[in-house]
Subunit: 349 residues, 2 copies
């Protein structure tokens, strides 16, 4: 396939900058896909906030993300971003949608095929839109996150940028918990584990649920054994992981993919994760971390961390969760879409 | 104009049934427009929830409104409703949009002209979408509710269904306050007025802001002098207005139109309203009620209610705020749109 002749539009969300300054999982992945495609010679246009940073062509309609500029009504920015991108559909051979279900409602009006990476079902009700467009193309970000009613072309694991993740052969002495601070991510359980192990804990990330933070996290913060350092950018995250003996990721709901786990392992840090959703696809149990079912098992896992070879953690990421690996998988998916579309056009002739 | 050959799509919201069982201002107006057009011989298709009631052709995609079925994510129902209606745009000569700004983002993909009745700017930021489609057609629901940056074809006041509003020549002895319970509507001020006048007050409507209700309304309810009876359907509303000496409507933000004021006057009940926004367009000060600027003036106005001729209140509505009056105004607007569209097509030939 002569890829340079194929024009790809990557549709990123507009909640945050692409790539985000700190938090912004979908924008991170959209950025990694975009930069990875450009590096491999594709002609890519990124639809994102105007201040986004990319080696692709950038098209934006709002300066900043609506999470960074609270004068914006999120739906206003979202629907303008999507509809204006869709107006330009004819300029592309494929639209790679990383911005949830709303873009699908413009499908009846455009001829360009759309691939949607389903980054998560925020509520079962959003399935109504996906079901309504089953003739479109879907990718799941883990086998665990698939919905059985939908047809998928493939599972493509998220790829992460290793340049910001230094491999640390020697363990730090602290437990680390980071991501968004929310009951879903089990920050309160990480605190319990740290206390039971008698190990210091550093917590980092945006507070997504203030009530949860105020009630179940803040009371434990003491700036010595339990520290909270707020959101971290990639450089700060790299420094944070240097301190880590292990990352404690006791998600209370099924993980969809789990960027935090891949990032931790990339730095050589073993991950203790709840065995829910995609965790067993991302972590090799007993080799790059431990899958557990409760706090007691997590405490036990901390005691076994030294059995994990930190080099193996890094290698596992290099082999499975790099941008290059992700993009080469997407290239296969794109190829399949182009094949099917060519077939369709033949059928209609 | 041979109206029977013109096919009109009326796009109603899907928050509530059309017409709503109790609260649902936009659905009420969309229903009144639809039924009024049908009565005058137009070929109308109403896009609304499936359980809606109409003499037009009904097209729906969800059984119930998302406010009446909390398993629905509002945006999912909204975007499916709108996009599926837009898919059928070619079947119509005009789409009359009563469902806010999101439908406008599909305009680049359809050929049918769209008239949007702007029922309100929930936030200044939604102007971004309206500004982006200035070549579309807009109607305001009062002169006060106009935004100076937008071109409007006309102001068309909302028309109400008088069949559910019995004219009561004799006043009741209570003050009445109804609508949605929210600081915007000044429920707390109505209570203050009632207490200062020593008159009983009946409050009715959906609680839109629970915290406001709990803090500023509930503590005053005693089931004798200050009663709260919850939402009312049209039949209950008619009974409620029978009790009314006056309706107290001390809105704290500019009113956009004010269905409550028109309904009250239709029953012969004078309205005491804050002189903000459209109130002075709906009420004839000193003739069908009083415009006031604060609680003290409202108390004074209660003392002057007997100077108002209740027949005049009714007549004012009959002459200005009936469905027939509204629909005949919309007919003129439609005619103008058809004229402009024909001109455009000529220009392009």
């Amino acid at each position: 396939m002569d890829i340079s002749s194929r024009r790809i539009a990557v549709l990123s969300p507009v909640a945050w900058r692409t790539p985000p300054r700190a938090y912004g999982a979908w924008e991170t992945v959209a950025s990694n896909i975009t930069e990875g495609l450009v590096a491999r010679g594709w002609d890519v246009t990124l639809f994102a906030t105007k201040e986004s940073i990319t080696n692709a062509k950038l098209v934006g309609f709002t300066e900043k993300g609506y999470e960074e500029d609270k004068t914006q009504i999120p739906l206003v920015s979202t629907c303008l971003h999507i509809s204006k991108a869709m107006e330009r559909a004819d300029e592309f051979d494929l639209i790679h949608n990383n911005f949830d279900y709303l873009p699908l409602t413009y499908l009846p009006f455009i001829k360009t095929p759309m691939l949607t990476t389903i980054h998560g079902f925020s509520d079962p009700d959003i399935l109504r839109v996906y079901r309504d467009h089953k003739d479109s193309y879907y990718v799941s970000i883990s086998d665990a996150d698939r919905n059985e009613e939908l047809p998928y072309l493939a599972t493509v694991y998220n790829g992460i940028d290793l340049s910001n993740l230094t491999f640390r052969p020697n363990p730090g002495d602290k437990l680390v918990h980071y991501g968004r601070i929310h009951a879903d991510k089990g920050t309160h359980l990480a605190i319990e584990v740290a206390k039971k192990c008698g190990r210091d804990l550093i917590i980092a990330g945006i507070i997504q649920d203030q009530e949860y933070f105020d009630n179940l996290v803040r009371p434990h913060i003491n700036d010595t054994s339990i520290k909270f350092i707020g959101p971290v950018n990639p450089v700060q995250r790299d420094a944070l992981l240097k301190e880590a003996y292990a990352v404690v990721h006791l998600n209370t709901i099924p993980e969809r993919f789990g960027l935090v786990m891949a990032e931790s392992m990339a730095a050589g840090v073993p991950v203790i994760a709840m065995d829910l959703g995609s965790c067993r696809e991302v972590i090799k149990d007993g080799q790059t971390g431990y899958l557990v079912n409760n706090v007691a098992e997590a405490v036990e896992a901390v005691g076994k961390i030294e059995r994990i070879e930190r080099k193996k953690c890094r290698r596992h990421v290099e082999e499975n969760f790099t941008i290059d690996r992700m993009v080469s998988k997407y290239e296969k998916v794109y190829e399949e879409i182009f094949r099917r579309e060519a077939q369709k056009n033949k059928d209609f002739r």
